[in-house]
């Protein structure tokens, strides 16, 4: 399973991970070819490839790339896992491919030259399994999530959670697509999602392609739409879900959750179980990435946290491929 946003290529001169450069969308559809882990780690940091599920694929295929290229695979997995701190999927995906590599390597320890090749294939097979599972999870998420969407629904979403971040149709976006296909979607409000505009650059582009009625809004306009009765529910993705249900996601998500509670609107978080990190007890334990203030303003001092944490108590339900967990808080 290869995705549009991330593909494994294996030409005669050696394999590569090819990324759709999401920093240039929608103006240009260009691709970046990473032939070593260092360039992939750099691309992850620059958000050429982004979004929790897709970062799982990037981590896994990155480990396979290291194995095929003869790089130190454990070191590569570590570098990939650290490329960005918040999304759980990145280290999870890298860890899965590394474990597959190491198991194969250990089994073939007596014939080292051949074992290296076999272990590389095992890592790649595992990366492809991660992608296939993500595609299946996306479809299951859409089916489960559709049950939460009423007729003539006006949904508000944040950031980008579609095919650009998934081997399938995405997370929150997959539910929105399912609602549209079921004829239940009356309007979709798209937070532009400052500072990097994943909403107005990426989500609006995917919506236009899918022919779904939508309108981009300033992030700060969501509250007044809720007050005016023009929003029925809020649906977002997640970058890491702690064991207690606290959820880190794109900056602004927590703001929406507080606003949803104030306006008595349901607030749904949508993610594959690969985003759930049982080793992170609560939201307070999730590292929040601080990105350069230049993403906001190059002239003045700025503070630019890329994510925030929404406590489980403000989340109406979490949708995964296994179903709808509601209530979230114990």
């Amino acid at each position: 399973v290869d995705t549009w946003a991330l593909r494994w290529l294996d030409p005669p001169d050696g394999p590569a991970v090819v990324l759709l450069d999401q920093t240039r969308l929608p103006a240009e559809e260009t691709y970046l070819t990473c032939t070593d882990v260092a360039s992939l780690v750099d691309a992850i940091g620059r958000l050429v490839v982004r979004g929790a599920p897709l970062l799982g694929l990037a981590g896994a295929f990155g480990v396979a790339l290291a194995a095929y290229r003869g790089e130190d695979v454990a070191q590569a997995a570590d570098a990939l896992a650290r490329a960005r701190p918040t999304a759980a999927n990145l280290s999870w995906g890298a860890g899965r491919a590394l474990a597959a590599y190491q198991a194969a390597r250990w089994n073939g320890a007596t014939t080292p030259l051949n074992a290296e090749r076999i272990a590389g294939r095992a890592a790649l097979a595992e990366a492809r399994a991660v992608a296939a599972e993500d595609a299946a999870a996306s479809a299951a998420i859409a089916a489960h999530g559709l049950s939460l969407v009423q007729e003539q629904a006006r949904i508000l979403t944040h950031c980008n959670t579609g095919a650009l971040v998934s081997a399938g149709e995405g997370t929150a976006f997959a539910i929105i697509l399912a609602a549209h296909r079921a004829g239940r979607l009356a309007q979709l409000w798209v937070d532009e999602t400052r500072p990097l505009l994943q909403g107005s650059r990426l989500t609006a582009w995917e919506l236009e392609t899918a022919g779904i009625p939508h309108a981009v809004i300033a992030d700060s306009a969501a509250a007044s739409l809720m007050a005016a009765g023009e929003v029925d529910c809020i649906v977002t993705g997640a970058d890491r879900i702690a064991a207690n249900g606290d959820t880190a996601n794109k900056i602004g998500t927590y703001s929406l959750a507080v606003l949803a509670a104030h306006h008595e609107l349901p607030f749904y978080v949508v993610a594959p179980t690969s985003t759930i990190d049982p080793e992170t007890p609560t939201g307070a334990d999730i590292p929040i990435e601080e990105r350069s203030g230049d993403e906001l303003t190059t002239r003045f001092v700025a503070r630019n946290p890329a994510f925030d944490v929404t406590p489980a108590s403000l989340i109406t339900a979490i949708v995964t491929e296994h179903g709808v967990r509601q209530p979230v808080a114990p």
Copy 2:
């Protein structure tokens, strides 16, 4: 009293209103000379001149310009009042100068040629009085508002409320300046204020000039700063305050008020009494300007309300030149 942002010029070839073009700040400090009311109305619509108190001046000086230029003064006052719908000060300022013009015109009805000149001077004198009163109001606001600021305060503000919108030092910004001078300001968080970035373009620029510690944030990051305990109070301006205390201000203000209530933080609205409109009973009666979606995205469909309404129940106090009204809601 002439301000930096709006000046009356009276060269031999006829008077003009000269505006600092706020759409080009901070990159360029350029001035636009309006020699008739039509060009001033256009400039108001394009936000060359903006901010509630300054719009009061623009309305008043615009009427004086009409009188000096021999335009239909009542028609000019009407066009100015309608140039933007939300800020109360615009029609209030135009109305004051028109009333002064009409009173002088009526008194001098027997000698029409001279009376026209006298009435024009009366309109200009009234516009200058509006400016002088605004400067005095700003100073009184700062003194009253300072009582609300604790030692080592971390204040969050939205949009731009400084010398760019006032014949004095502004509204909310005047309190921030007073707090800084009193040594009470530890940090100022500046919402960038999408879509037109009055925070990161204008407020940050004024803060840099004043040497005040600050950091620009994405509007949607305010919530997580509040949750982290890094904000002590929120201070904003107002575009129109209804008789019951409901307040229209830049889009995103209502969002901040809900977030402030959730985090049990004081939320202060700061405005001269010229922003209070006793003829508007409640926030539901305030017309909200919808601006072009192109301000958000030129490629996709967008919805772009320029203001929202914060109910009086979410406002801790309203500061005017007459003092601190607390509680606001009856």
